[in-house]
Amino acid sequence: EPEVTQTPSHQVTQMGQEVILRCVPISNHLYFYWYRQILGQKVEFLVSFYNNEISEKSEIFDDQFSVERPDGSNFTLKIRSTKLEDSAMYFCASSEVSGATEAFFGQGTRLTVV
């Protein structure tokens, strides 16, 4: 069964450093998403991406965040200068069609900012 894969599974970084979280969505999917879950809190939407551009972003997704689909397979989330409060589990997801079908999620990357 096709799946969304994320790397790394766990990333530890120092405050102020840049991190790039990587995702390989399912190959025929067109919509891509990043969500995050701070420990003990809800899974929160960060950004959606379609046709090589951001289609929607949340208030959390400020100028420190960026997304990119650098080639035909990868989808990345970059945090330019990490803060302690960026520590969370980050989930990538993809879907064939927005909303009308389910989103498939990766296993997540646990980001720890120290």
């Binding site: 929160e44 959606s48 289609s55 929607e56 997801a93 909303g99 009308a100 389910e102 999620f105």
Partner: protein, 115 residues
């Protein structure tokens, strides 16, 4: 703003007990509804979904959910839980007016099934 609330944060059941997890959403328009499950150490997996039609939907592993529009609810049920159902369960909503398909999640319910 749209929101989803799950009434139970932590549920402990014995095997063979019946399960019902509550989920309510706030949004006046048409929605798509989902229940996802996350087993320990694994990714979020879809249990079931509702887009339209019969409000009683059946999912994998014997789970079902009922959409009650008048109550803005989409409760998850299973008549007899197993130890392997121990996991975290998330209710989620996407709105038909959003063309991005973003999901709004509830806070999750941790289910612990005792053998």
């Amino acid at each position: 703003a749209q929101s989803v609330s799950q009434h139970n944060h932590h549920v402990i059941l014995s095997e063979a007990a019946s399960l019902e997890l509550g989920c309510n959403y706030s949004y006046g328009g048409t929605v798509n509804l989902f229940w996802y499950v996350q087993y320990p150490g694994q990714h979020l997996q879809l249990l079931l979904k509702y887009f339209s039609g019969d409000p009683l939907v059946k999912g994998i592993k014997g789970f079902e959910a009922e959409f009650i529009k008048s109550k803005f609810s989409f409760n998850l049920r299973k008549p007899s839980v197993q130890w392997s159902d121990t996991a975290e369960y998330f209710c989620a909503v996407s709105t038909r007016s959003s063309n991005t398909g973003k999901l709004i999640f509830g806070q999750g319910t941790t289910l612990q099934v005792k053998p």
